[in-house]
């Protein structure tokens, strides 16, 4: 028996509904239908009046969640795709994110964003928005890469008093399997060394962790031992773990699937440079998607995002200094 990444998300929500009466789910097609990705399958039946189909009103969905959080609830909002959170943008970044600083009352809501590219999904069903939301004060941005993290980080995220942007990767939903969801549990805010090495560090998160590991595996035959750090959360960023790894390897590649301007990789590189410049033996590198919308055709899509090939290439370049 194995569980998938999306199973873990479903399980986490089941656990939360069972154990915390403050939790409810609100999102399009999540009740009887169980959600576009089946992440809430069966939950409406198991928990009557706790799981609701939303109208196609992303702005109001988040507004409702903020109001409910003010009154003591812990709403989990499913966006059908991360890309549609652009409609709820104002309520997320201006209403939810500012509330604690302005009033002293935190807003414990969780927005689930099915994120990232899959073949044939195109410009509006593929976006990675973690680097957008992380720019706003007041939000916590989680990006689980493993089945166990998908489970535990959703549970732990909902327990936080602050608004959580939970970026779950659609490509991992069914592709990523594990024996159990109860793998290694780390607190939110701590990164994980997912693969040890000594010649270079790849800092990645979400689906790119797996591409990084693939690339690292390939480079073994050339004698390179690549360390892979899974950030797990992009806000907060666990610089201790990142800097410790760079201290060991002297070389940094920051890897992400989002658009190339700014974002997580820029934040990682510039913090490593500010805080650990002396640790670096080579110019730190970044690898992101290309600076166009995510293309629809699988052939274009595969060349738009980083792949094991392009990661190997970036690492070879990094190792050449």
């Amino acid at each position: 028996m194995s569980v998938t990444y999306v199973d873990a998300i479903r399980e986490a929500q089941e656990t939360l509904l069972r154990e915390d009466p403050r939790v409810f789910l609100y999102g399009q097609d999540i009740a009887n239908f169980g959600g576009a990705f089946k992440a809430t399958k069966g939950l409406a039946e198991a928990f009557p009046n706790r799981v609701f189909d939303a109208p196609i009103s992303e702005d109001a969905m988040i507004g409702l969640a903020v109001g409910a959080a003010i009154e003591g609830m812990r709403p989990i909002i499913e966006m059908q795709f991360a890309d549609f959170s652009s409609i709820a943008f104002n309520q997320i970044v201006n209403q939810a994110a500012t509330h604690f600083y302005r009033t002293g009352m935190p807003i414990p809501l969780t927005v689930r964003l099915p994120s990232g590219g899959t073949p044939g999904s195109g410009p509006f069903h593929s976006q990675s928005m973690e680097g957008i939301y992380a720019q706003y004060p007041g939000l916590i941005v989680l990006t689980p890469a493993t089945v166990s993290d998908a489970y535990h980080m959703l549970i732990d995220g909902v327990a936080l008093d602050d608004p959580v942007i939970f970026c779950e990767h659609k490509f991992l939903y069914r592709w990523l399997k594990a024996k159990t969801i109860h793998g290694d549990r780390l607190p939110i805010g701590q990164a994980r060394i997912i693969r040890h090495g000594k010649h270079a560090t790849v800092v990645a998160y979400s689906a790119m962790v797996h591409e990084a590991v693939r690339a690292a595996d390939r480079l073994v035959q050339d004698g390179w031992e690549i360390e892979v750090v899974d950030l797990r959360s992009v806000k907060p960023l666990d610089m201790d773990t990142v800097l410790a790894s760079v201290a060991r390897t002297g070389r940094l590649l920051a890897l992400g699937e989002a658009f190339p301007w700014g974002g997580v990789t820029a934040e990682v590189v510039s913090r490593v440079c500010a805080e650990g410049f002396h640790l670096l033996d080579a110019p730190p590198q970044r690898l992101n998607a290309r600076d166009t919308p995510v293309p629809y055709h699988p052939k274009l899509w595969a060349a738009h995002r980083p792949t094991p090939e392009s990661i190997c290439e970036a690492l070879r370049h990094l190792l050449s200094f």
Binding site: F24, N49, R50, A54, P55, S57, E58, D59, A60, M61, I62, G63, L64, A65, V66, G67, A68, A69, I70, E71, G72, M73, P75, N90, Q91, N94, Q95, A97, T98, H99, F100, Y101, R102, T103, G104, M105, P106, P137, G138, L139, I140, L160, D161, D162, I188, G189, Q190, K235, P236, L237, D238, M239, D240, T241, R271, E275
Partner: protein, 316 residues
């Protein structure tokens, strides 16, 4: 509404004297509607999300004067502690959320507060209310919020104060239906229309809407016709309001109308009203004086964190 008028007159003078932190947006001409709503609500039970012209509603709902003067005068003891300003102030823990500037955004928030109470089994007998202007009805947030409240059949009262202008923009650049209350049918909710310069009528219609919501009749939309009797903010002279409009029916001062109504209906005597006026002026003066003596926020003692959660590893 009288207290609010006196308070706002004071704020206006303080603004002109350069004593206010930030802008001043007044509710002059809208007190009858706003106070009617505040009065119909029960503090401690109901929710009230005021907008920028709801000083009268805030006071009627029970907000202490000092919350207002502290915010305007930059006291660190105010409800927003210098972090957010004046008309944005709120006390969400007391059923009065703190608005964000983005118009229309509070509708769904109040809906969510009511939704929570339903889930908690304590919705019965409770209503939530929010005010918006004519301009705010053009926002997508307003539409989504009202429609969601209708779907969830929540006891939400939406009061639209149609003061005929959104900043400088007249109604005909904001909507082209005859009366905004016609929108109610499209949401499957009840609509009400009222002359917002008439206190007794406003009080009657708004109370009726609040009680309908309270009794389970679902969302209610009340559209009040009136005119803003000052500029958009105190920095604006409102000279774009055409003279015929200013001199028209809605240009009459609802506070004066109300005073006359109170006397005519023998609800109060002229002497009583004058006594109130003195008493309120005194209260306002005290609240201003107190706020002015209090310390302003101190950036060195400010806790610069936007989240309650603190992470070990956090450097931002």
């Amino acid at each position: 509404m009288l207290k609010s008028r006196i308070l706002e007159n004071k704020l206006s003078s303080l603004y002109k004297a350069g004593k206010i932190v930030g802008g001043v947006y007044l509710g002059r001409g809208q007190e009858a509607v706003s106070a009617s709503l505040g009065t119909a609500l029960i503090q401690g039970t109901d929710f009230f999300a005021p907008l920028i012209r709801d000083q009268a509603g805030r006071t009627a709902f029970g907000e202490p004067l000092i919350d207002c003067t502290r915010t305007y005068l930059g006291s660190a003891a105010g409800p927003m502690r210098g972090r957010d300003g004046n008309i944005h102030r709120g006390r969400p823990e007391m059923g009065m959320p703190a608005m964000i500037s983005h118009l229309g955004a509070q509708v769904s928030v109040v809906a969510g507060m009511l939704f929570a109470k339903r889930l908690q089994g304590t919705l019965a007998g409770r209503v939530g209310a929010t005010c918006v202007g004519d301009g705010a009805t053009s926002t997508g947030a307003f539409h989504e919020g009202v429609n969601l409240a209708a779907i969830e059949n929540l006891p939400l009262v939406i009061v639209v104060a149609n003061n005929q202008f959104a900043y400088s923009t007249p109604n005909h650049r904001q909507f082209v239906c005859a009366d905004l209350s016609e929108r109610a049918a499209g949401y499957g909710i009840q609509g009400h229309s009222v002359d917002g310069t008439d206190l007794l009528e406003s009080a009657r219609v708004i109370r009726q809407a609040v009680e309908l919501a309270r009794s389970g009749a679902g969302p209610q939309m009340v559209v009040a016709q009136l005119l803003r009797l000052s500029g958009h903010g105190e920095h604006d002279d409102g000279s774009y309001v055409p003279l015929p409009v200013r001199n028209g029916h809605y240009g009459r001062d609802c506070v004066e109308v109300a005073m006359r109504q109170l006397v005519d209906h023998q609800i109060a005597t002229v002497d009583e009203i004058l006594a109130w006026q003195d008493q309120y002026a005194e209260e306002v003066q005290r609240a201003v004086a107190q706020a002015q003596q209090e310390p302003v926020p101190d950036p060195y003692r400010e806790v610069w964190s936007a989240t309650r959660t603190q992470f070990d590893t956090q450097s931002i």
